[in-house]
């Protein structure tokens, strides 16, 4: 096990699209374990993507279960993930291991269905909502060379969340 070095923007390597994973060999299993150890090394970090450690393959890890108020599917290993359904939009605050000392508001779908292979290459399907859905979208963006900086919306001038109109 090893903690890997995180690429930091403005390193433009983060802006490239990553390649499909084809080999689910022992070396790949070890990499996934190292990637999660790297995620766990950062306090409060709920997701990480392979390109953040300079490996440009379509692998993202998400685990929002540390905070029980977030509905979750536990520890997700998302290899070659595809979001196949989206629903709803909500603004939320995001930060990124690759962009220290800055957080910003980003619109994300509130519920998604994602299909991905697991670490062994078996196809899985997950339904994600809320914070977990946000984390999955943030990490999959990394695989396409997108940072949350590419999706910022203003911090200002928002009035009430829609749910509050239903009082």
């Amino acid at each position: 096990m090893a903690i890997l070095d995180i690429l930091l923007f403005p390193d433009l390597a983060l802006k490239q699209a990553s390649e499909t994973v084809t080999d689910f060999d022992e070396e790949f299993q070890k990499f996934v374990a190292d990637l999660d150890e790297t995620r766990l090394h950062a306090p409060g970090c709920v997701g990480i993507a392979a390109p953040q450690v300079g490996r440009f393959q379509r692998v993202a890890l998400v685990d929002v279960s540390a905070n029980p108020k977030h509905k979750n599917n536990g520890y997700l290993v998302l290899v070659n993930p595809e979001i196949i359904e989206w629903e709803g939009y909500k603004k939320g605050r995001e930060g990124c291991l690759s962009v220290p000392d800055y957080t910003g508001n980003v619109m994300r779908a509130t519920s998604i269905v994602v299909e991905a292979q697991d670490a062994k290459g078996t196809l899985q399907r997950y339904e994600c909502e809320g914070f977990e859905a946000r984390a999955v979208q943030h990490e999959i963006d990394h695989l396409d060379g997108l940072l949350f900086l590419d999706r910022l919306v203003s911090r200002r001038n928002d009035l009430f969340e829609r749910k509050n109109y239903k009082k």
Partner: protein, 168 residues
């Protein structure tokens, strides 16, 4: 910290920041906005010289733009952001005292304000006051919600949303 205020017109930011750049300044965090027909700027400026020298850099352009200039030497550093964990929105029929009442109750309940912006909208005859606050709830959001619940009887609508920052 540079503070500049003056009658709004197009081109202020471009002219001022050009002068700062030419004068050897590096800009950091800044807040700039039009308030009631004035343009207001507060800028963190990195500059190796003395305050007097900085004023000499800015004065020609600020005077030509009709901006009041104020310079404070401050102890400051970049990369010291505090993350807000709560966002509070407030609105109501405008009257004196809204900000004082709301922020007073919130301060007593442990709110540390990191960002506040407010505006007056509505019609001239019946203005409405709108305010957004982001801050850190040192004593949790429960006490803030309790403080805000008392505002409705004073004609002030409020909402509180926790900011659950995703780190990924």
């Amino acid at each position: 910290m540079l503070t500049l205020v003056g009658e709004d017109r197009a081109g202020i930011v471009a002219k001022l920041t050009h002068a700062l750049y030419e004068g050897g300044c590096n800009l950091g965090e800044a807040s700039m906005m039009r308030l009631g027909g004035n343009f207001t700027m507060m800028l963190m400026v990195g500059f190796s010289g003395k305050v007097k020298a900085l004023k000499e850099v800015v004065n020609p352009v600020s005077e030509s733009l009709g901006l009041h200039l104020h310079v404070d030497e401050i102890k400051a550093a970049l990369h010291t952001h505090l993350d807000p964990d709560v966002r509070i929105s407030v609105y109501g029929a405008d009257r004196p005292g809204i900000v004082s009442e709301v922020t007073g109750a919130l301060a007593e309940s442990g709110l540390h304000i990191l960002d506040l912006e407010s505006d007056v909208g509505g019609s001239v005859e019946s203005p409405i006051y709108i305010m957004h606050i982001e801050g850190h709830a040192a004593e949790g959001v429960g006490s803030l919600r309790a403080a805000l619940s008392l505002m409705k009887d004073r004609g002030i609508e409020t909402s509180l949303e926790e900011i659950d920052t995703l780190l990924g």
